[in-house]
């Protein structure tokens, strides 16, 4: 029963855009499937299980032996995806009444079956399945389910289903392996929490709240410590006798994407820090770090061009000692001492910023214009390292966003709930067209920031001012000005305008402003910062 059940889940997940709906589907899976298949399915979804035994060419040969070449080619041409073509075109064999395999059976057989026998085994399975079952099986054994279920989402679903806090699940997650029998036993209340022992596991991060104006007045400077808020990605480093791991903020294992960091982790500790591209001590803009993310293979050239480093700001474990209950100041002292002693390569301390008053701190924040700095982090001197987002312990105090008045150029429908609205906006700025006039050049795309009323208004405006269509994209009359705010502007050779915006969103619709008075590209260029502050500025 279980490959078809898994196939039905996959099919729903593939078509479901909403996070809540995805969570509901996953909860249903945990609640209704037997062990070990529910764990195998979970591992397959989060891509913890990857098969390499069956190559796509094996599937190609199997289907070629069963279909007419002309019809196969016409079908492939129509469907596009080859795996899907195979799943759909696979001829039903009369008289097959073997039940479809269980997921766990598939996994086990793929490991144990000698290579020459694989085609017959897989062909036999495909004969027992319907088209969605075949597609699930083919995607499973050749890799690439890609259904948009991250490990984090799966753990949230496990938490919602079982009632156990997600932080507790995060702590054991990387210490348990598919099919997660011990994990499910614990979640169902039938066993103690699995003990990860030496295995490197992710510890849930302590998160900060945005500091609102009302909170600022209540701050007493002597109780707080300040650091720069770096514009990289938050990471946790875990190293010890059980192995080394680099975790993303959501607990994804990103060790393989940054081998040079893993190599430098010659210690036994758990640290919190910011992953950045750092050249000669200078932090590069986020866009450069992005070159390193989401890459399957890391080339020596990429490591040379975009050298990664970690700016450390907390020490959670030293050896086997859990420092998380200690106050921040005590942990900071241990961290400084540890960095001085171990001096790990590719890592440095996130400097603390001295300040005497909140007013002075505000000045420092506003003075920071480097693209690599988003603002300030404020940490209470006596706060323990508490998982999750507890109010009043850590604040992030982002500097005010930058803003431009841009002209709406194109609009596209959104996803999920917003799929019937034109909710994705491409906007542009003026620049000389080389013939004495001016032209608009697109500078970015925004999907957020507006209210529901503004969205409805924009949707109507777009429908009434469409001048062209390319598939789902509408080109509109170049007459509407939008105030767009963003966190930073960075030079980018991948963009036509030569500049990329960090997190642009719509602040206001400026019906009061004619398009000709929107900003020029030059105005935006003046925001571009190429240089991060040197260490001594930061310490001031």
């Amino acid at each position: 029963m279980s490959v078809p059940a898994f196939a039905a889940l996959l099919e729903r997940l593939v078509f479901t855009p909403g996070r809540n709906a995805k969570l509901a589907l996953l909860r249903d899976w945990f609640a209704t499937q037997p062990d070990p298949d529910r764990g195998v399915g979970l591992a397959a979804l989060t891509e913890e299980l990857v098969f390499t035994a069956a190559k796509p060419s094996l599937i190609r040969d199997l289907v070629a032996a069963r279909t007419d070449p002309v019809l196969l080619a016409l079908s492939h041409d129509y469907v596009g995806d080859f795996a899907e073509t195979v799943a759909l075109i696979w001829p039903v064999r009369a008289g097959v009444n073997t039940p479809p395999p269980a997921l766990s059976e598939v996994v086990e057989a793929l490991e144990l079956t000698p290579k020459p026998e694989l085609p017959a085994l897989i062909g036999g399975w495909l004969d027992t399945l319907d088209s969605s079952g075949r597609l699930a099986l083919i995607k499973l054994i050749t890799g690439g389910l890609r259904v948009g279920v991250s490990g984090r989402l799966a753990r949230v679903a496990l938490s919602e289903w079982s009632g156990k806090p997600v932080e507790e699940i995060e702590e054991v997650w990387h210490g348990v392996a598919p099919p997660y029998l011990a994990l499910f036993r614990w979640l169902e209340g039938n066993a103690d929490k699995p003990d990860p022992r030496e295995a490197p596991v992710f510890r849930p991060l302590m998160l900060a709240h945005p500091l609102e104006d009302a909170d600022v007045a209540a701050l007493r400077p002597e109780e707080w410590r300040a650091e720069w808020k770096w514009d990289g990605i938050r990471v946790q480093l875990t190293a010890g006798p059980g192995g080394r791991r680099l975790w993303s903020r959501g607990g994804e294992d990103i060790t393989n994407a940054f081998p040079e960091i893993a190599e430098a982790m010659e210690f036994h500790a758990v640290l919190d820090g910011e992953l950045l591209v750092i050249r000669d001590g200078v932090v590069a803009p986020f866009a450069e770090l992005q070159q390193r993310l989401n890459r399957k293979a890391v080339t020596p050239r990429m490591m040379r061009d975009f050298p990664a480093g970690v700016r450390l700001y907390d020490l959670l474990f030293e050896g086997g000692e859990d420092l998380r209950p200690l106050p921040f100041d005590a942990r900071r002292a241990r961290l400084e001492d540890w960095v001085a002693r171990i001096a790990p390569a590719r890592m440095d301390l996130s400097p603390q910023i001295a300040f005497g008053s909140v007013a002075q701190l505000a000045e420092i924040r506003d003075g920071a214009r480097a693209a690599s700095i988003e603002g300030l982090m404020l940490k209470r001197a006596d706060s323990p390292y508490a998982a999750g987002r507890q109010k009043g312990l850590w604040w992030k105090w982002k500097r005010d966003p930058l803003s431009i008045d841009a002209v709406l150029m194109y609009a596209q429908r959104g996803h999920g709930k917003r799929s019937s609205f034109y909710s994705d906006y491409t906007f542009g700025l003026w620049r000389p067209d080389g013939e004495g006039g001016e032209e608009l050049v697109p500078v970015g795309k925004a999907y957020s920031g507006y209210t529901d009323e503004e969205l409805a208004w924009l949707d109507r405006w777009i429908r009434n001012h469409t001048t062209g269509r390319f598939g789902p994209v509408r080109e509109v009359e170049k007459s509407l000005v939008l105030e767009v705010i963003f966190d930073a502007a960075q030079l980018s050779s991948r963009h036509k305008s030569g500049v990329a915006l960090r997190f642009p969103r719509i602040a206001r619709i400026r019906t009061d402003k004619p398009a000709s008075e929107a900003d020029r590209l030059d105005n935006l260029m003046s925001y571009v910062e190429r240089r991060a502050p040197a260490e001594e500025d930061a310490a001031g």
Partner: protein
């Protein structure tokens, strides 16, 4: 030696023309005499002088076009009855496509052609099943004539919809379906699966549902889908034309799950491009296996393909020694499941911003 149908059944700009009988089958422009296979707008067009069709098809035409446009003279003919016109014997046989749908069986001087219109072989509780008629030339559609199109049992697809309702009881399930045939078949399938609750209808579907009921197809409790009353539609099934489920109308429903019931839903990429969350593969057209099985059953040595994927079907027929001929009739396949919904890839109209 009886005359080859080629000599008395010709392709003209108006459509297929039976020369000795002086009539057209499903003509695309107004003509003097027309035989109509079924009520879909691409087969039944307004403005003909005399129209011959099943009583149900005539009723559907009157309902859709108004009395005046549905043929100046309407002549009903029931399946099995034979009528002679210029020496040609005309008979209708059920096609199993929608209520009233029929194949046109023509006999002339010992040679027989069957024009099947649109048809399917799957069970349909709203109309009579397809009846294979042996012939010399079988004229077929080829909407789903690729071996990737094999429609699953419709009962299983309806079960998917009901399972989704159980999983998301707060969400309105809005199902895009064609107004004539698909809508009523879906309602009957839901009733058979035990869904007794009111089914809500978009305004564009109401009149044909009423007509089906008048013609003896019971549909159970139906209600208009008043989007203003969002709360009442939580957990309800709403049926709407495919064009409405993707637009402003549907967004006023409670967190809608957008489903579409169509044979095209079989291919994921297509369904995804249309933003469908719950694709239901339910079709009123023959799939690949049904097309081939039907052609084998009627035993025709020659098959003419009116519209659709004639390339694949003609190739498959040649492998079995059957002569296939693509007629390339224009104007067909524009209503109901129609041509493959082609959606252009998103044009990279502009460069995106950097997203965190």
């Amino acid at each position: 030696m009886p005359p080859h149908p080629e000599s008395w059944l010709r392709v003209t700009p108006q459509g297929l023309y039976c020369e000795p009988g002086g009539f057209f089958i499903d003509p695309v422009r107004p003509v003097g005499r027309a035989v109509i296979t079924h009520g879909h707008a691409d087969h039944a067009r307004p403005g003909h002088d005399a129209v011959l069709a099943t009583p149900e098809t005539l009723a559907i035409m009157r309902a859709r076009m108004g009395e005046g446009a549905a043929g100046a003279a309407q002549q009903p003919i029931r399946p099995g009855e034979v009528l002679e016109q210029g020496g040609v014997a005309i008979r209708l046989a059920p096609a199993g496509h929608v209520l009233g749908s029929a194949q046109v069986v023509l006999d002339w001087q010992g040679s027989r052609a069957v024009i099947s219109g649109d048809y399917k072989r799957q069970r349909d509780p709203t109309c009579a099943p397809f009846e294979p008629v042996p012939c010399d030339v079988f004229v077929t559609e080829a909407t789903f004539a690729l071996p990737v199109f094999r429609h699953p049992p419709p009962e299983a697809e309806v079960a998917k919809l009901l399972k989704s309702l159980a999983l998301f009881p707060e969400r309105t399930h809005v199902v895009g379906c064609y107004a004539l045939g698909k809508c009523q078949r879906l309602i009957r399938l839901l009733r058979e699966a035990g869904w007794d609750a009111q089914i809500h209808l978009h305004g564009a579907l109401a009149s044909l549902c009423r007509l089906y009921e008048e013609l003896g197809v019971a549909l159970g409790p139906l209600a208009p889908a008043t989007v203003a009353n969002k709360a009442a539609l939580k957990g309800a099934i709403v049926l709407a034309p495919p064009s409405a489920v993707q637009d402003r109308w549907a967004r006023r429903l409670a967190e809608p799950v957008v489903a579409v019931a169509s044979g095209w839903m079989r291919v994921r990429q297509r369904a995804k491009m249309r933003g469908v969350e719950l694709p239901l593969v339910i079709s009123d057209h023959a799939d690949w296996d049904e097309l081939n099985r039907t052609i084998d059953e009627v035993g025709a040595p020659e098959v003419w393909v009116t519209h659709g994927r004639d390339d694949a079907l003609v190739h498959a027929l040649a492998l079995r020694g059957i002569r296939g001929r693509a007629l390339h009739l224009v104007g067909l396949g524009e209503e109901d499941e129609g041509p493959a919904p082609e959606v252009a890839e998103p044009a990279s109209a502009a460069e995106g911003g950097v997203q965190a």
